[in-house]
Amino acid sequence: VTGGLTIAIPRGSLFEATLDLLDALGISTGEVRSNDRRLVFPGILTVRPSDVPTYVEHGAADLGITGKDVLMEQADRNVYELADLGYGHCRMIVAAPRDADPMGERMLRSGQVRIATKYPRIATDHFAGTGRQAEIVEVKGSVELAPITGLADAIVDLTATGKTLDENGLVEREQIWESTARLIANPVAHRLKAAQIDELLERVRGLG
């Protein structure tokens, strides 16, 4: 189905659009769609988005699809980034409570801010790169809670529509970058299976 290639695809928000892409490429996804619990299919592995680079780097999959946000957070992974797939658009932002400016206030009075995030590396780089001191607090979920409860002054997080931010009384203060889904490849497979990978890549580009 996949021309002898194994592809790791992300469960979660990119899942549906990724399956649609595979269908458009002529890779049948009926089996994947109808088996919600199964993880491994012929030529296809379904894994957490943040695990996709791991599977690809270690060669359990030749190719993978995941968000640029994941690749930025795991920047030292040894994988090829081959194509921007265009879908799964979201933005990494700094957000703070709407009705106050605790971030500015804190910066003024203590010279540093406290930031809650699921992306400690991106947050650290962003604040260091803009010359500000930040104390980064890593949380694993529901990061919007942090400013409401006083755990942090602001958050660094992904947003697609801004709806969750709004519902929690937060507004975007800064954009760090935009992200879309990317096609990645294992470096050894990229050379040893060059013909198959290029053929698939051609078809991906043909869709755009």
Binding site: E81, P187, R191
Partner: protein
């Protein structure tokens, strides 16, 4: 009770050790038969000496002070110590020098899994033979040593570490302007690289070449896509390898870059379908010995013995 060892290091028990010894022995015999005498250098070097070879000491990850306050570093790469050895012990000699080594090297590991802090490298250095002739001798020997060790499916990914930067320089992009593009190429971020190329003020054909070249890989036909004289050197290496009967082992990889700062031309990686990481690699480093006061052309290759062992096991199964 379990007494821990540092992450990225490990013990080896007799069954595995026997196989690793046999593998090292087989490679050693191949190198020795080709005239590459084995040398031994200290695992600890003065950090200053490593820095002379590479500005970040080839990424040395472990440093300590000796009893006199000197900074010592555990070598992260065997080639710089061998360049030092050649400058010290073979100063002024002009005959080609063929050396081999089997040595542990040490590096810091930023991430938890999979990577070793201590790893055994076996390799060769050919000093005093420049150009394609020297490159082909080193690559062909690595190939035949692996074949003699029982590997059947290994390939050589062959590139030119200067190709992309010289194409950029021809378009007037060099120094600080070239650095971010080379960084993207080195990180294998072809999407980011394309966006950066689109931001350059270059002609359409140049733009297309700069975007497509990093993904060019395959047989000698890919060299036709590079404007002359860019691929002349790789063609010459390939011809010499074909004469030695190993031309078919080569996969040209025009986007290949390696992370060590001392390479000056031909670079290569050894690939095997059984292992998701390169088994080893090497290249030409014509300026490294000059940094130690003995300017001589040189080319070398190193293999990660553990990874070669994995490939060997897979061949047997």
């Amino acid at each position: 009770m379990i007494h821990p060892v540092p992450p990225g290091t490990r013990d080896v028990l007799p069954d595995e050790m026997r196989e690793l010894r046999a593998l090292s022995g087989s490679l050693h015999e191949s190198f020795e038969r080709a005239g590459y005498g084995e040398v031994w250098t200290p695992a600890l070097e003065y950090e200053d000496v490593l820095r002379r070879g590479d500005e970040n000491a080839a990424g040395a990850g472990f440093r300590l002070f000796d009893d006199r306050g000197h900074v010592l570093a555990l070598r992260s790469d065997p080639t710089i110590p061998i360049a030092r050895l050649v400058a010290n012990r073979y100063a002024g000699e002009t005959e080609p020098l063929r050396l081999s080594y089997f040595a542990h090297a040490y590096r810091a590991v930023t991430r938890g899994s999979g990577q070793a802090r201590e790893f055994l490298q076996g390799g060769i250095e050919l000093i005093g033979i420049g150009g394609a002739e020297g490159d082909a001798e080193v690559i062909a020997l690595v190939d035949s040593a692996l074949t003699e060790a029982g590997l059947r499916r290994h390939r050589i990914g062959l590139g030119d570490g200067m190709l992309y930067s010289s194409l950029l320089a021809e378009s007037g992009i060099d120094g600080e302007r070239a650095a971010p593009l080379l960084e993207s190429l080195w990180r294998r971020d072809l999407v980011g690289l394309e966006a950066q190329v689109d931001g350059l003020d270059v002609s359409k054909p140049t733009r297309d070449l700069l975007v497509t070249l990093p993904a060019l890989r395959g047989g000698p036909e890919v060299l036709d896509r590079v404007p002359e004289p860019g691929a002349q050197h790789l063609r010459a290496v390939h011809e010499l390898l074909a004469e030695r009967g190993v031309g078919d082992r080569v996969i040209f990889d025009l986007g290949l870059l390696r992370d060590l700062g001392y390479y000056t031309g031909t670079i290569f990686e050894v690939l095997d379908p059984a292992v998701a990481f390169a088994l080893g690699g090497g290249g030409r480093y014509d300026e490294l010995l000059g940094r130690f006061g003995e300017p001589r052309p040189a080319c070398g290759a190193g293999l990660d013995i553990q990874r070669v062992h994995v490939a060997q096991i897979e061949e047997g199964s």
